[in-house]
């Protein structure tokens, strides 16, 4: 009986140590948090690239649904002058508890930042004057093109919108 308990104790200790090692083996993710004025330059870059700026949050179901499509698009086209940026609008006190685990779970490779600016009335119209504030929302711009979408996008939508710009 005692030995059985001891065995399971050893087992749990070993398992616990393993999981700690596993966690610390991964690169600790640090998600940069910006105010709107710090973030704004992302909306007006004048380079040869096409920028896909997606506003999302972990609690937004349609956002979560479209992320794999954006990730797939990023994986396939990031070497062709396309830059995908995920702008999280999660609550700033939930970055460690929600956003970081979410990024790891979804294995998100494109860059993620957090926009922390409580007075959305000031910055929403700067992103796009037609944006009511619902998410997901996506700005696609570059190479003389500009489009704003206050709706879910699919991989196909992204290809149809962006591929003509890079070919």
């Amino acid at each position: 009986m005692i030995s059985k308990k001891f065995v399971s104790f050893v087992f749990y200790m070993a398992f616990g140590l393993l999981s700690v090692t596993y966690v610390s083996a991964g690169e600790p993710k640090k998600i940069p948090m910006y105010t709107f004025s710090e973030f704004e330059h992302w909306l007006t870059k004048d380079t040869d690239s096409v920028y896909v700026i997606n506003f999302w949050a972990t609690w937004c179901a349609p956002c979560v649904k479209e992320i794999p499509d954006f990730e797939k698009f990023n994986a396939q086209y990031k070497d062709q002058n396309i830059k995908v940026l995920f702008v999280s609008l999660d609550f700033p006190n939930q970055i460690e508890s929600r956003v970081v685990p979410f990024i790891e779970r979804m294995n998100m490779q494109a860059e993620v930042i957090v926009l922390n600016e409580p007075n959305a009335n000031k910055w929403i119209p700067v992103v796009n004057d037609d944006w009511s504030g619902a998410i997901p929302a996506t700005v696609i711009y570059g190479r003389g093109f500009y489009a704003f979408f206050e709706e879910e996008l699919t991989f196909q939508d992204l290809e149809e919108t962006i591929l003509p710009l890079i070919q």
Binding site: P118, I124, G133, A134
Partner: protein
Amino acid sequence: MKKLFAFLSTVFFISTSFAQGYNVGDVADDFRLLNVDGKYVSMADYPDAKGFVVIFSCNHCPYVVAYEDRMIELHNEFAPKGFPVIAINANDSVVQPQDSYTNMKKRANEKNFPFPYLLDADQTVYPKYGATRTPHIFLLKKDGQDLRVAYIGAIDDNYQDASKVEARYLADAIIAVSNGQKPNPETTRAIGCSIKKKR
């Protein structure tokens, strides 16, 4: 559709808006929707009201949750002055199961909502108003027999922390309207959860 849209945007450098619905100054239609108490509610049921704070809301959205206590306080402050809150959940519960009628009753009970919490089951009200997200507020003012939209937008300027609010957009708008003035601003915007359409 997307191709055409992209083409138009390229050529004219325009961004389009799919938003339809009421603008400030428009006459708003009444509705008759099921409340969490099992009864139907219309604005016509409030002959003494001077107007209404119509809030498109839901159960699941963290931005709504962040504002629920403020919604209750607004009702308690302004219902006695003739501007009761009426909350409407327009989300389809197949798309967002947390926003089912059963869960609405549960949430209303937990928070002890002093205002009606109605279900836009057929999703006919929210598109007419032009609500796109939760929370999305439409302040209506009685104008003779009509209900006229006086303010559209957010409750205040800080969803994160009620104690750090600098501008109480909605409260200020109600006060302005009560004094026969135009709210300033008449529209504001806020981040919110998109209203979930039936598929």
